[in-house]
Amino acid sequence: MTNSPPDNLNEIKIGLTQLLARPIKPASLAFNTNALAQTREQSLREEDTILLFRIGGERFALPAKSVLNVFPITKVRKVPHRTRPPFRGLCCYEGAILLTGLLHVVLDMPVDKTANAKLRRMIVIGSEDASWAFEVDAVDAIRKVDPSQFRNAPSTIPKNAASCTNCIIPLDDGDAVLLDPSAIQSIMERSIQ
């Protein structure tokens, strides 16, 4: 089956181009963002204690109960033929050999080369027999938060990050993105399959 182009094709093209090129009003942007924002059920909203940390100049949070350990930066070694990011390698802590990933790759964030090396930490999430460690630029604090204040994440954030982002937590000193630890683990595990 063939479709012949409409006679006024050029006019349509011009119209569409104008439509797409028009400046968006802030009110429209807010409305559309709200309409498209993710509305999935946030099981983690039941959590009210979070661990706040930084990557690439942005602030993120994880439910505190999903965090197994936080420890100073340690050497991460590569594993032959297992080099697909976000898998990074293996690191050791307290006698355990941990799978280590690159959270900034999962979140599609650039590496903050200006971050203070002394503040860098490793965070371990998951369970004792299925954990993942990853490096963050700094660990800020553990906070109690009010789940009723959580906001949906905008739909414009990158795909990987979107699948890890649970919601936005408004805090007195700025927002933090609450991440879904099981989604992070799932993405990291895909890189070694």
Binding site: V79, P80, H81, R82, T83, L99, I192
Partner: protein, 788 residues
Amino acid sequence: MSAFGGFDLFELFRGEIQSHGASLNDGLLRLEQNPADVHPIESLMRAAHSIKGASRVIGLDLAVDLAHHMEDCLVNIQRKIEVCGPERVEQLLAGTDMLTQLGTIQEADLPAWKTANAVDINALITALSAPAQASSGQSKSVEPELKVPDATESEIPELHIAPATESLVAPSNPPAATLAPAKPQASSSEQPLQTSEKTSNTAKPVAAAVTEVRTVRVNAENLDRMMRLAGESMVEGKRFPQIRRGLREMKSQLRFARDSFESAVKRKDTVEISSSLARLVSIEASLASHAEFLENVFRRTEEVGTKLYHEVIGSRMRPFGDVTAGHPRMIRDLAKKLGKKVQFDIEGSNVAVDRDVLSRLEAPLNHMLRNAIDHGVEGPQDRLAAGKSETAHLRLQARHHAGMLEVRIRDDGRGIDPERVRTKVIEKRLQSAEIASGLNKVELLEFLFLPGFSTASQVTEVSGRGVGLDVVSQTVREIGGTVRLESQPGQGSEFILSLPITLSVIRAVTVLVGGEGYAFPLARIERIVKVDAASLQSVEGRLTFQLDERSIGLIRANELFGVSESTVDLKGSQIVNVVVLGDIDNPCGLVVDQFMGEQDLVVRKLDPRLGKTPFISSAAIDDEGNAILIMDVEDLLINIRRGLSEGGVRGLDIASLRRNSSGRKRVLVVDDSITVREVERQMLARLGYDVETAVDGVDGFTQLKAGQFDLLVTDVDMPRMNGIEFVKALRREPRFASLPVAIVSYKDRAEDRAAGMEAGANAYLTKGSFQDQSFIQTITDLIGEASA
């Protein structure tokens, strides 16, 4: 079942059943051999009584009744109310087998066990209640059918052993099920519950979903020592805050003394200066005292840590007797079935062996012992005819020898006739008659370890299918050991196994490859050699060196591992570090960056989520607390051989040694046309570049991984891997993400160009570019002049 002090109660029950079941088996066999000796009876009674008590706690009335009646019998024997005849021993052994099954099943399988065994157990209880019979035939009407286990069945599937003893009784009401794993206490928890078809329909499958709490029996003294050392370690750790406080105090004193001194100097106050100096001297003395204290704490901490480590490792060790406990019974039953008389001796039951080695050893030992009974030893008539005693001797011996566990299984049977083996070798066309005729005895006996090779003239229930010795050999190899066979026709055979004492700790040589640590188990490598680079020889362009009059080909480890370029410049170094792997006939040398030394490494399993990682068997933590990967040498060799034949791996070539020596930039030219390759090579060489060539994408990729290049020039249409696939594959690897790539192809359509650029090329040229300056211009644009 409720948890009990952190343990699953049923798990504890199973452990108790296994332990007392072993005592019952041992004691009953001794009683059978010497019915007049009533000494074992007391321990038998205790064992039966303990099982009764434990079963009561679990609520297993059936087991309580059986154990109770067994205990009654034993009491009668001890009180000499009845004589312990062979029938009674059979009944008691049958009862023991029933009870020891409980030590191998899951809690979820208990209802099925009860259903399947109720009839048998009640029949057995009836038999045990009846007075002991004087004649051997009379008791047969009440004993349940007994099947002797095939202990190796799970490991060596083809070796089926049906009832190894005669069916003692045909019960008036056939049992709903016959449990096969009547193997006594030595059977592992991995032994599946085997039921007849009828029962399997009703019985629940083994509850895979049931979370099994693994428990490990640890010697109580060992545990006490560990607790003591752990406590001491904690106490030592608490001294550090005291040291920290002292150091902080000294720091503030030092600051005060310095301020005082500076102030006194400014004021030229000689009294204050003297006083400040005195304070500094005092601080110095205090510092010395602290340093001594700190030294002691460090020393103690290290001592305690080392002792604790050894205790923990020691807790994994179990006596060799753990794996042999079921053998006397097995030998007895099998010999009886085959109508042979066998005296079986075990030596070295107390020899300590890692529990993992023991568990792997169980199946090979069972097989070799069965083999010895079936084929090795003759029947009484044959033995008498051969001038031997009618009772054959079979000995299982274990000892520590040269840092290894040595296990010997010797029989004084008919031995193996090497000529029969030679004939089989020729019949099975494993060697030509000419070569076979030249094989010596040791070489011929090696054939017995090949799959499917058997000299047995007929297949029996026990062996003769040629299945088994190859599995023995494979299992032993898997745990890093060796097995050999010695035999004298007419005098007997001896299997000699040399095994690591533990799998938890390995002695390994550690090396650096691409800045990362790798460990090669010492038992798996032939040699480590530092080779003088000048002594390397080229054979068809590939470098080799001479070792013990053998030419050893070289392969770069970083190429195999797919890790970053070697940190060692072979040219810059006069020494090439080589780990020699493989067997005598087929050695190969793996070039590593650096030898780090030998270490004892505590082996850790790799996270199972990583799947099978090529060449890597496990991991460990090195002396500096970093993860180190332990090589799977067998897998490495297989991959090297496959890679060499398929072109995925290249031997180290001369160019590798010249690498970077000129300080000139290196270009890899990949094209399947020798003409084009040569044109490009000459053009680039004239410009002063070092040029290497490859014939297709696979070859090119291998060379790139093995070497250090500044530019890749590749064709598109090539066999095996075309240029587009090649460039795409390169770009997926982080180390090649920024390598400049120029595609040179006859294809000059816009879509071809777009495909090349999309794949990740930096430039796309046609082969017409050789006619003008565009090829040369593009190369210099991409990487500059030849000299850096």
